[in-house]
Amino acid sequence: MIRSLKTAGTAINGQGLSPGNEELLMKTIADMVKVLHARVLCGEEYLDRPVGTACCSDLMSDVLAFVNEKTVLITGLTNPHVVRTADMLDLKCLVFARGKIPTAEMLAQAQSQDLVVMTTRETAFTACGLLYEAGLRGVPIEWPEGEEEA
C-alpha cells in the first residue's frame, strides 16, 4: 500500500506552466472538447466536470499503476479493457485519438459508468501537445518510498 509518497517530475509534468501561461486555461472537459475539436460520444451532461491531469497510454497496466480518478485518459486503444480500466480507477473522461470510435457495447458500458467519451481526429501525440499548450499537465507519478526513480 502506498502510504508515503514523493512526487516525481513535478517541474515538467505536475505544475510549472510556461511563462505567460500562468492561468490554467484548461478548466473543464468542455474546454478539452474545444481544444481537440473533439466529438463527444457520450456523457454530454458531464462536460462541466473539472479536469485535473492527463495520461496518454495504450498500456492499461501502466494506467492502472500511475493514474488517479481526476485524470483524463488519452488512448488509441479501442477495446473493452479501456472502459474496464476506467471503471477500476473511477476515471471521468476518455479521449480516443486519431478518430477512433469505440464499439456500441463499450459506449453503453461507459454510459453506465457516467464517463465522458470523446474522439478527436488528432493523433495521440498532437492531442497531448494541444492539451499541454492549453495548460493541462501530466499525472505526477507517485513513487512509493524505497522505490528508486529510473
Binding site: S61, R84, M88
Partner: protein
C-alpha cells in the same frame, strides 16, 4: 466473515475478463468501502484477474471481507512461474501478442498488485500459482 465470493476465471477469455473485478468492486462499495482502499483493491483485483486470463490454464479468484480486512486470493492450475523474482520486476513480461493487443503485457501486473496491497504473498510451482493479497480497512 462479512462476505465470501468465488469467481472462476477462464484462460484466454478476454471478453469476460474484468467482470469478476467489477463485481468485487460493486460488493465492496455496497459494504461501504471507498476511497483509496477501494481503488487499491480494484486495481490489484483487475491485475490478478488479467494474470489468470493471460498466463494461467485457468483458476479462481476469491474475495473475503471481514470487519477490518479485505483478502483477495488467486489460485490457478498452472503452468506456474519459473522465476518469481524476474516476474516481479517492472517491465518484465511473458505476455503473448493477444494480451498486448488488449493493452496488457506491460510487465506491471505483479508489481502493481504488490504496490497496492498491504500484504502480498506468492507461491508457484508447475501445478499452479497462489497469490494472496491483504488490504487493511482500518489504518494501522
Amino acid at each position: 466473515m462479512i462476505i465470501h465470493r468465488e469467481y472462476p476465471v477462464q484462460a484466454g477469455d478476454y471478453i469476460t475478463a474484468g467482470e469478476a473485478s467489477a463485481d468485487i468492486k460493486r460488493n465492496l462499495k455496497q459494504l461501504g468501502v471507498s476511497g483509496k482502499v477501494l481503488k487499491c483493491v480494484s486495481v490489484a483485483s483487475y491485475e490478478v484477474e488479467l494474470n489468470l486470463v493471460i498466463h494461467s490454464l485457468g483458476g479462481v479468484l476469491m474475495l473475503d471481507v471481514d470487519s477490518d480486512r479485505v483478502v483477495l486470493e488467486s489460485k490457478d492450475i498452472g503452468p506456474g512461474i519459473p522465476d518469481i523474482d524476474l516476474a516481479m520486476r517492472e517491465g518484465y513480461s511473458t505476455a503473448n501478442e493477444e494480451a498486448r493487443n488488449q493493452g496488457f503485457g506491460a510487465g506491471m501486473g505483479l508489481p502493481n498488485m504488490k504496490r497496492n496491497a498491504d500484504t502480498f504473498s506468492i507461491a508457484s510451482s508447475p501445478a499452479g500459482t497462489c497469490i494472496t493479497m491483504g488490504f487493511n480497512l482500518k489504518e494501522q
